[in-house]
Amino acid sequence: MAARSPLSPFAAFFRLLRRNVVVLAGLGTLGYLLLPNVVVTVFSFNKPKGRFNYSWQEFSTDAWKDPCGVADMCGSLSLSLQIAFWATLGATVLGTMIAFALVRYRFRARGAVNSLIFLPMAMPEVVMAASLLTLFLNMGAQLGFWTVLIAHIMFCLSFVVTAVKARVMSMDPRLEQAAQDLYAGPAQTFLRVTLPIAAPGIAAGALLAFALSFDDFIITNFNAGSTVTFPMFVWGSAQRGTPVQINVIGTAMFLIAVLLVVTGMLVGKRRARKSR
């Protein structure tokens, strides 16, 4: 009898496509997400002719060798890191306490507080920025580091509350009762049981707050006065010419983030293996 007729190359291609459609779609989405990072990284090795780093000229590591070579850039970077650090700390501490209060206690206007917490997330940033500026000006506050920090803590709070609340809600209250039953007083119970179990939620909230604070532009721009944060510096320089060092900082931030995530995963895996 006749052997199976060989598929035409066209049909074979479609069969391959059909079988791997999920993988292909996944890879496509990942590429879409990461392409900007690739461009930033590639152009951090560029040697532009003019002041703008928008077209590829030749490979060079000049910018990597001298990342602070641009006037004021590293100062603004350090300022942004400081603000992000303190904003994260403030928002995480306050947000965690709010989350616990909302989940654990029944008090008047609890429902209202619950919805009001989400308002900053839903509000357009530019509206919040403008109203904050109005508020600060009316109070006679000196615009600068402190006004930016206050603003950042405020808009980071909602995100921390959301992240921690989800974790606290899924916590079995019997765990704390078990701790009390096993001779742990209120402080010990909190430190030894409640906090460690809520930690992943708190860490997620803190990471989110750091990222949001570090790259915030709109609210910062309105309320910074003469202070210049890193996003403001990038914005300002983009109008006069973009130094390659901006790409260097961008790439470095990306790499540090990836490194942190990978380390975290490795540590988690090793811990899981050890306890098996």
Partner: protein
Amino acid sequence: MTTAHDHGGDVRLTGISKTYGSFTAVHPLDLTVPQGSFFALLGASGCGKTTTLRMIAGLEEPSTGTVRLGEQDVTALPPYKRPVNTVFQSYALFPHLDIFENVAFGLRRRGIKSVKKQVGEMLDLVQLGEQARRKPHQLSGGQQQRVAVARALINHPKVLLLDEPLGALDLKLRRRMQLELKRIQTEVGITFVHVTHDQEEAMTMADTVAVMNGGRVEQQGTPADLYENPRTTFVANFLGTSNFIGAEVAEVSGDDVILKAGGGKLTLPRARCPAPVTTGGTVLAGVRPEKISLTHADDAGTIPSGRNRITGRITDSSFIGVSTQYVVDSPACEAFEVYAQNIERDSRLVPGADVVLHWNAAHTFGLDAEQSPFAGTTGPAGADKAEEDA
């Protein structure tokens, strides 16, 4: 560690009650659990048994009354100051700590530095020495349950409280853990207070059982006493199965009460009827299904005299190996349940056959006719009752 004259492990509840707003979970009750005993609080869900347990642990504050451990009044003490430990339903093991640290938790909180030896011994007692460095979620349900017991026992509490600790296990494992817990209790001699809704579990493990219903203790006693001499239909139905015949008191003669039911006469020992008996009044005459013999109507003449007898017709029979369970309709009581051992099976005893039910009159018990004969059953009427109670 403990001696016979030590009453430090007595639990004495006096007038203890718990109300939530207008809902009363536990009506004022008195309960004494002697040192070293295995005590079970038995009841359907929502009967107040867990609330009672939590008041002993200090996790729930009683609305009235006092909790005493031995001579010490602990009513005002927070849970972390009471010499009592709990095995929680679903165990409540700390998910972020390994098995070793879970078991060591109580020792460490009391400032004991060298815990290694004690924890090792305790894990060996529950046969989990190999699993010390695992996390709770990596263990099976039975292993988690043993960790929960070890975590509580290592503190040498005066009283160990167990809140439905076997509820999440499958039947076979549950049987094994029942024996295991009983063995541990005998070995360490600590007072155990065990909350359960499983009557078989309560009867096999406990020295004393208190049956709770609607926030009250209905009856308390040894398992055999509760089974043979229930004082309410709830207890009679919750522990095993009972048949009830609504009967009129014809006369009281000596130690016996003669009852009229379904055209026949029944004898009830006076001593086995806690309810008041007056001629012309009514009582519920109860008898357990396994005490009844079943004889085909054709052989009625062979039944010895002096036995209580009732005629009826088999409506249903189910063969379950060791015994056959019959349902018999009779004028005295519809759906009479009879369990017959499969020793010599009479092939005529099939649905539709006319039969005589007979039993030793001494096995009859009498109850107040004012209560529903279905209380504590899982049938439709019983479920309604349970809902009311909840």
